[in-house]
Structures are given as structure tokens and as C-alpha cells.
Symmetry: C2
Subunit: 179 residues, 2 copies
Amino acid sequence: MERGYERATIRGIAAGAGVDPALVHHYFGSKDQLLLTALQPAALEAMPQLIAAGTDGLGERVIRATFEVYEGIHPSGWAMLVGLVRSATTHEEAARMLRDAMGSGGLFMLVEALGLPQPRLRVALVASELVGLAMARFVIGIEPIASADVDAIVDWYAPTFQRYLTAPLAGDDPGGGPA
Amino acid sequence: MERGYERATIRGIAAGAGVDPALVHHYFGSKDQLLLTALQPAALEAMPQLIAAGTDGLGERVIRATFEVYEGIHPSGWAMLVGLVRSATTHEEAARMLRDAMGSGGLFMLVEALGLPQPRLRVALVASELVGLAMARFVIGIEPIASADVDAIVDWYAPTFQRYLTAPLAGDDPGGGPA
């Protein structure tokens, strides 16, 4: 967080924690993997409340929780996500980690816990929306998305998230949950 | 198209066209700029029909036209877009080009020609959606988006494009067009 994602090193993080860099490599692997592990507790912490609040207004709550996880708890959290997406554009290993994180991450837990049909498709669509938002806001700098406040982002994007999370969607996966 | 975006060079393109590479640099600048210029006629060609068909079902038509422009007319078109987005993650020059293309490109023309309010915001939201779709499908490889056929992509994404293009949106820009 102090140095930003690009400039942070496993060696520097290990020095800050007073441990051998080899230990960090052993337990966390790459810098990308360390980031995902660091973000996980914050993401999981938000889950019980999101699950308890049900599907009405879920899209808005997921966006706000995402901003809280990425910006509130980790000031450079979005920069780290963008770093990971940037890695994914050139390293298959980072792309695979992003895919794995989607399959086992908080978002998938949320969709499953709410009994929503086609959980894999919903997580994929929400993930593509989040990546598009992060690229527009933090990488390409598309206005007015880049400098809008979070309330405006919520107004624009929440209905999209709501539909991807809860509406009936075409596809083979049999339905059955709330729509 | 023969070599893919990453492996194509200005020198090779100039050799294929039988001209001096300096001439290509002079008229088109970078490889990214050359790509945008090459895609432009196809994008502009799709415009009159899109404009004439009006706002009902516009979201679906924009997605299909995008796939036609990127895949039909240019077989490696999406790879080129992804290459440009990849450049944008590390080069501010490529990010600036993407922003400029949005401000003056076919999508902006379309939104303006249809008299839709807040054209800049609509183009930004559609662009973020397209970037997220391209990243999910071609870079990160998020299933089922990565291997779905175009009809499934249209089913999932068209309502989002439709809302970003035509629905009332929060923001300062005064309304007035169709909603």
C-alpha cells in the first residue's frame, strides 16, 4: 500500500514483515497471489451482511462493497486490482489466477448462498462489468467515469449488476432460484 | 491481419503496401493509430443503418455490429482491440488514443444522431462494457463468456447496452432526447 502495486516487491514486503523473502514466496507464491490473499479477508468480511440483505438492491450493495473493499480497507486496492488485470494481459499465470479467484471467491459464495441459478455465468458477467469499470476509471481514464463520485457510479452501474446477479438469463444451466 | 496485432510491424505493413516505412509513420503515426484508422471505415459503414433503425433494439444491434466490424471485416479485429487495450495499460499515449477515439468515433456519432441526451456519458458506459467484454472473452478467458456464441453474448449483454444507450441516466447533462 505504501509503494503502490507496481513498485512493491516480495523482498520489500518480507523486509517489512521481518521475515525471509523465501518464506513469503513459499506461502504466497507471486506478488499477484499475495495481493489476492490480502484482499480476501476484506471481501469475505462483507459477505454475511450481503447475504442477509437478500436480492432486492443487491446490485447497488455489491458495487458499494467492492469500493469499500478496494478503496476503504486498502487505499491502493483498485491500483492492485488494475495491476493484476495488467499482468493478465501479458501473463497467462495472472489470467489463470483471476479466473480461479472468480470460481472460488466471495462473489461466487454470495451468488450460491442466495440460491441464484447459473452462478458461474452471473459471476462471469459481474466480473466482466467490474473489469470494464476498473479499466475505464483507472487505466484508460474515460470521462465522466474516471472522476465521478461513487454515488454516480452506483446510479449508472447498479441496474446492470442487479440484472446480472438476479434476472433470468439465457443459457443451459437450469434455473430454480429467485429471479 | 496475417500476423496478428502483436507480431505486425509498421515496417512489414509498409513492405506489403510497397511504400517506405517512413511514409506510414508520417501519415498514421504508431501501430495503434494505424489500427484505429483501419477499423474506422468498417465502423462508419455500419452507422447509417444503425441510425435509421432507431432506438428500439439498439443495444442488440450495436453488439452485433461490433462483432461484425471486429470479427467479420477484420478476422483479427478483436485481437487488435485487445492489443490496443493492452498498450493502454502501460502507455499513456495508447490510453489517450482510446479516449480520443471514443470522443470522435462512430459510437459518439450514433448517439448524437439519435438525439440521445448525455452522449458523452453513454459512450463512456458502452465503452467500459465493451472493454470488460473483450477482457473477459479474449484476455482473462472467463467462462462461459470466453467460448459462448455471439447469440448468447447478445442475450446476456444487449439489455445493458440498451440501457446505457437509451435509458434516463443520473447526471448533470440536461436530457431531452428519447428515453
